[in-house]
């Protein structure tokens, strides 16, 4: 399949030069070069954070971070994968952590040392406002932390770069868990349903269905389909 149309460009993997077809992602370029990646590849779809790669473009002095499975190579790119970050993570029992900032700072006292230097934001391969969520965490604005950090792929780059030695992503994870568990009010509808199931409310109907033949099941299905309503309500609108 290698034909004339495909243009080859040079890249440097840990200093060694390879010629690879242009347009590939860093991950595919490394594979084309002959690497069978063991560490440094997970989902191949930009959500797991396993493939973070440190790179420098020709003629620049900046070191950048990108997800290898998402970043397209450029000629004369210098690459090194960063498959593991030994970042600090506090150990806690989520049930006992409360929704106030003192519990967060007890677990992560270094949070208050943030210098507001924005290095983390500049390094984040997901382009998240990392400093923004760290600042929100310092203010105790948990909702804002959730909003700004929800796309975090836990790659650890922010922790590698932070001069104040924070692990921003682990702090955000703790806060998201606190928010999901302790701040969002419980759903009475769910409680009701759990009660019904515990009380065996559907048991009889289910037993009948298990004996039903295909035609009966289809009949029920058509009944349910006829009353199904809208596939989705619009979340934003509902909130207003």
């Amino acid at each position: 399949m290698l034909n004339d149309i495909i243009k080859m460009i040079p890249i440097y993997v840990m200093g060694r030069k390879y010629e690879v077809p242009q347009g590939l992602t860093i991950l595919k370029a490394m594979e084309f070069a002959g690497y069978r990646v063991k560490r440094g590849c997970g989902c191949r779809g930009g959500v797991c954070g396993a493939c973070v790669t440190l790179y420098r473009r020709k003629g620049t002095y900046q070191l950048n971070f990108g997800l290898a499975c998402q970043t397209v190579i450029e000629p004369d790119m210098y690459l090194m994968q960063l498959p593991f970050v030994p970042a600090h993570k506090a150990i806690y029992t989520i049930k006992n952590v409360r929704a106030n900032d003192s519990d967060v700072t007890k677990l992560y006292p270094e949070l208050m040392r943030c210098l507001q230097c924005n290095t983390c934001t500049k390094a984040c391969p997901m382009e998240l406002d990392v400093m923004g969520y760290v600042a929100a965490a310092m203010r105790g604005d948990l909702e804002k932390v959730v909003e700004l950090s929800i796309e975090c792929v836990m790659c650890g780059v922010c922790a590698v770069r932070c001069p104040a030695e924070l692990s921003p992503f682990n702090i955000a994870l703790l806060i998201r868990r606190i928010y999901g568990k302790h701040v969002i009010p419980p759903s009475p509808q769910l409680d009701q349903r759990l009660k019904e199931i515990r009380g065996g409310e559907f048991r009889k109907e289910m037993e009948e269905l298990e004996k039903a033949d295909e035609a009966e099941i289809l009949e029920r299905f058509n009944e349910f389909q006829a009353t199904k309503g809208e596939a989705a309500i619009e979340l934003g609108k509902e909130k207003e």
């Binding site: 590939l24 069978r36 997970g42 929800i150």
Partner: protein, 544 residues
């Protein structure tokens, strides 16, 4: 990148027809039409792509030929290479695989007092689960009930589901949502705390619970954090390569392989839980796949060699909307929720040809027909073909900002390649997505082999021949928890005898006796995309 000139003519037609299509539906298929569509166009029904299995518990049955190649290969492990008289590592429960199923089984077994070792091929959490975008099905809303969920699941599974497994699934589902919430998962909620749910294709009620389009990522972040908080022993980059049996034929652990040091080492366990996921990276029938790097059917191969029967393994799910362009994203998934939210499925001329809410199998078949015989697919510069998913309709219908609010992840991924799905449609083609069948299990995840459990995508039966959207995420938690509890309660009664790998020797011999000479060995562990294989993706749809 973005959309090059080749696409312009078709894009203009889509724009032109959009207003006329607004609010219009396409008649849904009646049962007879659906059946004939599937028979003719769905990859599952193309028998030429399947092969008979000539050895083992499923002898005489069929499976995708890529899987049969692995089942009919000798073991990667040379039994003599491990010394079973010196086993250093012992545990109550060995969990193999760290997607949602494995991590849940590990947490649950630990909670019920067992000592747990979690061994996984890649990093903790790297899995298909982390990639799930759409949501998790559970009948939590008042207008829904487990009974309706049951019926939908059975109809989706073409009536082949094992009834008691489905009953366990739908009854446990709301408890799973409660469990995940109690661990701190940030589900999409309404201000009063009610769950926001949507209705994927094939369901009759709104019941898919999401975390934006990052549902699996949020689950895995929380669950892996919990694994670390509970200080469960985790071995990363340590795939299992074969199961261990004892002289009484019970499962007694597994042989693991250290990717870094390339050593094999046995782990003895009173209960072993396989949660190794699916087979997407075998690229059945040459399709692209939405699956993660480690989805190579290892669990099926190991369990099969140890004597476990596989169920419905010839049924593979193709997700109708895998990315067909840009090339770098080939095969990745565009969540079903995009269609639920209003995006129509249209051909090169801007015409609808199928109801956007058909089930996955029917929609895949309709797209394959439209691109093949219909001749109405959109050709890409790399030789792929695809169909438009008209995403701009989402903001037109739901108001500006809807797409971004619901599909931030999809938006940012396409944006990298210069495509703006808020204003431009995206090009899709079916992609291998899910293994409908798997290792045969009962309601507690027990397989045919004593002390061996299988959960999640590696197990088969609950989804019949075809899984409904959002039903897999719930499956992995329901059966992960059941297997974890059952294993933890059983270990007190388990006595492991003398460890053995004789089943591997016997299996290898049976291959020779059947005159099968394979050039490969299995399990595969990782797909090989080196050198020009990197580029072969371009060819997947040739001749289709």
């Amino acid at each position: 990148m973005a959309y090059s000139v080749e696409f312009q003519e078709s894009l203009e037609k889509i724009e032109a027809s959009r207003n006329g299509r607004l609010g219009q539906g396409f008649p849904s298929l009646n049962l007879a039409d659906k059946a004939s569509l599937l028979e003719t166009y769905h990859p599952d029904f193309r028998m030429a792509e399947k092969r008979e299995i000539r050895v083992g518990p499923n002898r005489g049955g069929v499976a995708p030929k890529e899987l049969v190649d692995l089942l009919e290969s000798p073991s990667l492990l040379i039994p003599e290479a491990v010394d079973l008289t010196k086993v250093d590592s012992r545990t109550d429960v060995l969990v193999i695989g760290s997607g949602g199923g494995g991590v849940t089984a590990a947490l649950t077994a630990r909670e019920h007092g067992a000592e747990v070792l979690l061994a996984t091929k890649l990093r903790l959490g790297d899995s298909n689960t982390i990639m799930a975008e759409g949501g998790i099905a559970a009948a939590t809303l008042p207008e829904d009930s487990p009974v309706i969920h049951y019926v939908d699941t059975i109809v989706g599974g073409r009536g082949k589901n094992i009834p008691e497994l489905v009953e366990a699934l739908v009854n446990d589902a709301p408890f799973v949502v409660e469990w995940l919430t109690s661990l701190g998962v940030n589900f999409d909620r309404l201000p009063d705390g009610a769950y926001y749910a949507h209705m994927p294709a094939g369901h009759s009620r709104r019941r898919s619970h999401s975390v934006k389009d990052l549902t699996g990522l949020e689950f895995m972040r929380v669950l892996c954090d919990e694994v670390r908080n509970r200080e469960i022993d985790v071995l990363e980059f340590s795939p299992a390569v074969e199961l261990l049996l004892d002289d009484g034929g019970q499962c007694a652990g597994a042989v693991l392989f250290n990717f870094d040091t390339e050593e094999y080492f046995p782990v003895e366990a009173k209960a072993t839980i396989l949660a190794t996921g699916g087979m997407g990276r075998l690229h059945p029938q040459g399709f692209p796949t939405s699956n993660h790097y480690g989805a190579t059917a290892d669990g099926l191969v190991m369990a099969y060699r140890a004597g476990a029967k596989l169920l419905y393994i010839d049924f593979v799910q193709y997700h109708p909307t895998g990315v067909a362009w840009p090339e770098q994203m080939l095969g990745l998934l565009v969540s079903e929720a995009v269609r639920a939210q209003g995006a129509q499925v249209v051909n090169v001329d801007g015409d609808m040809f199928v109801d956007r809410l058909e089930t996955r199998d029917a929609l895949s078949a309709a797209i394959i027909r439209e691109c093949g015989e219909g001749g109405k697919g959109v050709l890409t510069p790399t030789g792929m073909v695809g169909i438009w998913l008209d995403t701009p309709l989402i903001d037109v219908m739901g108001g500006e900002g809807t797409f971004l609010r619901r599909f931030a992840g999809i938006h940012s991924r396409f944006k990298k390649y210069g495509i703006d799905p808020i204003h431009e449609p995206i090009l899709v083609y079916p992609t291998q997505h899910y293994q409908n069948g798997g290792i045969r299990v009962n309601v507690d995840g027990e397989t045919d082999i004593p002390n061996l459990y299988a959960v999640g995508e590696a197990a088969g039966g609950v989804h019949g021949h075809n899984r409904l959207g959002a039903n897999s995420l719930v499956d992995i938690f329901v059966f992960g928890r059941r297997a974890g509890i059952h294993a933890a309660e059983k270990i007190g009664r388990v006595k492991i005898g003398k460890l053995s790998l004789d089943h591997i020797r016997a299996y290898n011999e049976s291959l020779v006796e059947t005159q099968i000479f394979s050039e490969i060995s299995s399990p595969m562990l990782l797909p090989d995309y080196r050198f020009e294989k990197t580029l072969s993706t371009v060819q997947y749809t040739k001749g289709r």
